[in-house]
C-alpha cells in the first residue's frame, strides 16, 4: 500500500487524484447538507451564528471547485492519457507526483482555516473585514492549488503533443485527449491573472499595498476583473474534461461510432477561444456602461453554439445505436439532460437587463450547480463506474449503481430547478436566513429535501464503491460491460497495483 503513496507511475498518481477527489466530494457534500438543513426553516436551527455559516459555504464552494472537480479530472486524465497516446507514462512522472502532493497541502490550508469571505474573496470585504489567519491560509492554499494545476497541465500538454506515438496522428486520438489538451492550454492562459490577484490581495491585507483597498485609493472592481478573467474560462476548464468523458462513454454504450469527430474537435477549440471573451458578464451590476455590457453579452452568447454542437453530437451518436443503460451510460445521459437545462438558464442569464433579476440570487446558484453538479459530477461518476474494473479489477453492483443514479438525478433536479424559481422571488445568495414568507419557505424546503436525497445517493455510491472494491466479483477484463468491444488495455498497469 505504501508504494502507491511514493510511486510516480501515471496509474498510481491517477488513483491518488481520484481518491482525493472523492474524499473532497464527500466532505464538501457534507457541508452542503449542513447548509441545506440549516435553510430548511427560516431562523437559526443547527448553526448558531452567521460567521460559522459563512465559513461553511465558503469552504464548500472552494473545496468543491478546487479539490473535487480539478483533481478528479486530472486523475482520470492521468489514468487514460498515456494509454490513449500509446506512451508508457506521463512526460514527467516526478512532476506528476509533485503536482499531486501539493494538493493535500492546499486542501489542509483551506479546510483548517475555513475563511469566511466567499469562494471568490472580493475585496474590500476580504481586506478589511475578513478575519484572522483563516483568510491568509485560504489565499496560500488556493495559490498552491493553482500552481499544482499549472504544473499538471504542462505535464498533460507535453505528454499529448510530444510523447504521442509517432504514427498516431492527433486527429485520430480520442476526443478525451482533445478535451484534456484544450483544458490544459486554457489553464496555462487563464491562471496567471488570478495568481497575481492573489498576491495583490495578500499584500493589501498586510497594509503594504492598496491595490484594491478603497481607503488607500485602490479599486475593488480591478480585483473582480482580474478574478473573472481567470474564472470564467476556469468554469469551462471544469466542464470540458466532463464533456470529454461523455464523448468517451456515449459511443461505447451506444455500440455505434461517434457521429462526427471533427464537430467535437471544432467545438472544443471554439469554446477554448471564446471562453476568454465573456468574463465580465459576472460584473454587469458593478455599474458598467452600456457598450461594455453589450460586448460581454456578445462574448457570452458566442460560447453557446459550441455547447449546442456537443449536445447535438451526443444525441446523433445515440441515434440508431443499441444503447445499453448500464450505470455509466445512465449518468452520462442524466448529465446531458441537466447540461441542457444549465445551458438554457445560462442564455437567459447573459441577457443584460435580466441581470437585474438574477444577479447574486438563487437563480445563479441553481444555474451553476446544474453545471457543476449536473453535467460535471454526473459525467465524472459515469466515468468512475466505467473505469472501476480498470482500477480494481472487480465489478461494482449494477443494481445499486442504478439506484444511486436515480437518487442523485432526482435529488439534483429537485434542488437546483427549484432554486431557479427561488432566485426569481428575490432571495439573495449566501444568506444565513431568508424572509420568512410562505413561497420562499416552501421552495427552500423542496430543495433541502432534494439535498437529503442527493446525500443518500452519495452515501450509497461510496458504499457501493468501497464494498465492491474489496469484495466485488472479478470483472472480465476484455469486455467488462459486455459491449462487444475491447476494454482499456488492462496490462498497462503496474504489477504491484
Amino acid at each position: 500500500m505504501w508504494e502507491i503513496l511514493f510511486s510516480t507511475h501515471h496509474t498510481d498518481v491517477g488513483l491518488l487524484y481520484i481518491i482525493l477527489g472523492l474524499v473532497a466530494f464527500m466532505i464538501g457534500g457534507a457541508l452542503a447538507l449542513v447548509i441545506r438543513t440549516e435553510l430548511f426553516l427560516p431562523g437559526a436551527q443547527i448553526i448558531s451564528d452567521p460567521n460559522t455559516f459563512h465559513r461553511i459555504f465558503t469552504t464548500h464552494g472552494t473545496n468543491m471547485l478546487f479539490l473535487w472537480l480539478l483533481p478528479f479530472a486530472s486523475g482520470i486524465g492521468n489514468y487514460l492519457i498515456p494509454i490513449m497516446v500509446k506512451y508508457k507514462d506521463m512526460a514527467w512522472p516526478k512532476l506528476n507526483a509533485v503536482a499531486f502532493w501539493m494538493i493535500p497541502v492546499g486542501m489542509a490550508l483551506v479546510w483548517l482555516g475555513m475563511a469566511d469571505f466567499t469562494w471568490y474573496a472580493t475585496p474590500p470585504y476580504s481586506i478589511l473585514s475578513a478575519k484572522g489567519p483563516a483568510a491568509e491560509m485560504w489565499i496560500f492554499g488556493i495559490k498552491i492549488l493553482g500552481l499544482s494545476s499549472i504544473l499538471g497541465s504542462i505535464n498533460f500538454i507535453v505528454t499529448i503533443l510530444k510523447m504521442k506515438h509517432p504514427d498516431l496522428p492527433l486527429m485520430k486520438t480520442s476526443l478525451f485527449v482533445w478535451a484534456t489538451l484544450v483544458t490544459s492550454i486554457m489553464i496555462l492562459v487563464a491562471l496567471p491573472t488570478f495568481t497575481a490577484a492573489l498576491i495583490m490581495l495578500f499584500t493589501d491585507r498586510l497594509g503594504v499595498s492598496g491595490f484594491f483597498n478603497p481607503n488607500m485609493g485602490g479599486d475593488p472592481i480591478a480585483y473582480q476583473h482580474l478574478f473573472w478573467f481567470t474564472f470564467h474560462p476556469e468554469v469551462y476548464i471544469f466542464a470540458i474534461p466532463a464533456i470529454g468523458m461523455a464523448y468517451e462513454l456515449i459511443p461505447k454504450f451506444s455500440r455505434k461510432p461517434l457521429f462526427s469527430y471533427q464537430s467535437g474537435v471544432t467545438a472544443f477549440v471554439l469554446l477554448s477561444i471564446v471562453a476568454f471573451a465573456s468574463w465580465a458578464h459576472h460584473m454587469y451590476a458593478t455599474g458598467m456602461d452600456f457598450t461594455m455590457k453589450t460586448t460581454f453579452m456578445i462574448g457570452t452568447l458566442a460560447a453557446v453554439p459550441a455547447s449546442a454542437m456537443h449536445v447535438f453530437n451526443w444525441i446523433a451518436t445515440m441515434w440508431g445505436g443499441r444503447i445499453r443503460f448500464a450505470t455509466p451510460m445512465s449518468f452520462v445521459v442524466g448529465g446531458l439532460v441537466l447540461f441542457f437545462y444549465a445551458g438554457a438558464g445560462g442564455v437567459v442569464n447573459s441577457m443584460m437587463p435580466l441581470d437585474f433579476l438574477t444577479h447574486d440570487s438563487y437563480w445563479v446558484v441553481g444555474h451553476f450547480h446544474l453545471f457543476v453538479m449536473g453535467l460535471i459530477t454526473f459525467a465524472f461518476l459515469g466515468m468512475l463506474h466505467y473505469m472501476f474494473p480498470m482500477i480494481t479489477g472487480r465489478m461494482y453492483n449494477e443494481r445499486i449503481g442504478m439506484v444511486t443514479f436515480w437518487l442523485l438525478f432526482v435529488g439534483v433536479s429537485m434542488i437546483f430547478l427549484t432554486q431557479h424559481v427561488l432566485g426569481l422571488y428575490g432571495q439573495p445568495r449566501r444568506t444565513f436566513d431568508y424572509v420568512p414568507v410562505e413561497p420562499l419557505i416552501v421552495m427552500n424546503q423542496i430543495s433541502s429535501v432534494g439535498a437529503w436525497i442527493t446525500g443518500a445517493g452519495a452515501a450509497l455510491l461510496m458504499g457501493n464503491l468501497i464494498y465492491s472494491a474489496g469484495k466485488g466479483k472479478p470483472a472480465d477484463m476484455r469486455d467488462p460491460f459486455q459491449l462487444g468491444e475491447q476494454y482499456y488495455d488492462y496490462t498497462r498497469k503496474e504489477p504491484h497495483h
Binding site: 459563512h54 437587463p353 445568495r429
Partner: protein, 166 residues
C-alpha cells in the same frame, strides 16, 4: 462521416435564436441604461448592515425610503466600507454599492405600496438582515412622455408580504 447537413441546420437555428435574444436584450437595455431627464436624485449609502438615504432637499432617512408614484428617481449608490448591492426585487432595481465610487440606477415606481429593499452582495456578519423598507405613496407624476403599462404582476407575492412580517 454522418451526413453533417442536419448539424449545420441545427447550429444555424441556435445561432439565429441567440442573435434574436441578444438584439432583444440590447433593445431593452438601451432604455434602462440612462435615466429620464427630469428624475429626482436620491443618494443611497450602504454600510455594514444598514442603508441610509438622502433626498435632494437634504432630508436623511435611515432604513426607510419614501418615494412618490409616477416620479422617476435616479439612485446614486455608494458604500462606506465594503461592497453592498442596492436591490429592490419588486421594481427590478439592482446596482452594486462599491466604496469610493458612485453607481447610478433609475426607476419610476408605478404602484403604491410597501416594498422590500435588501442587500444583494455578500457583506459579512448580518448581510442576510441588511434590509430597508420602501414606501411608495401617491404622487403627482412629472413625466411628460407617455408611459406604457402591461399587466405584469405589480408585486411578486413573496417580497410584499415579507416587508410586513419582519
Amino acid at each position: 462521416m454522418g451526413h453533417a447537413m442536419i448539424e449545420w441546420i441545427y447550429v444555424g437555428v441556435v445561432v439565429m435564436l441567440l442573435v434574436y435574444l441578444g438584439a432583444a436584450a440590447w433593445d431593452v437595455e438601451r432604455f434602462l441604461d440612462h435615466p429620464p431627464k427630469d428624475s429626482k436624485v436620491i443618494k443611497v449609502t450602504g454600510q455594514q448592515w444598514l442603508w441610509t438615504f438622502e433626498h435632494e432637499d437634504g432630508t436623511r432617512e435611515i432604513g426607510e425610503l419614501h418615494l412618490q408614484e409616477g416620479v422617476p428617481y435616479k439612485f446614486e449608490v455608494t458604500s462606506r466600507d465594503v461592497n453592498h448591492a442596492f436591490n429592490i426585487p419588486d421594481l427590478t432595481v439592482l446596482i452594486d454599492a462599491v466604496p469610493g465610487r458612485i453607481n447610478t440606477v433609475w426607476v419610476m415606481p408605478d404602484a403604491t405600496g410597501e416594498y422590500l429593499i435588501q442587500c444583494r452582495e455578500y457583506c459579512g456578519f448580518s448581510h442576510y438582515q441588511m434590509r430597508a423598507k420602501l414606501f411608495v405613496e401617491e404622487g403627482v407624476s412629472n413625466v411628460s412622455a407617455p408611459i406604457e403599462t402591461q399587466d405584469i404582476p405589480v408585486v411578486l407575492p413573496a417580497t410584499k408580504a415579507a416587508v410586513v412580517s419582519n
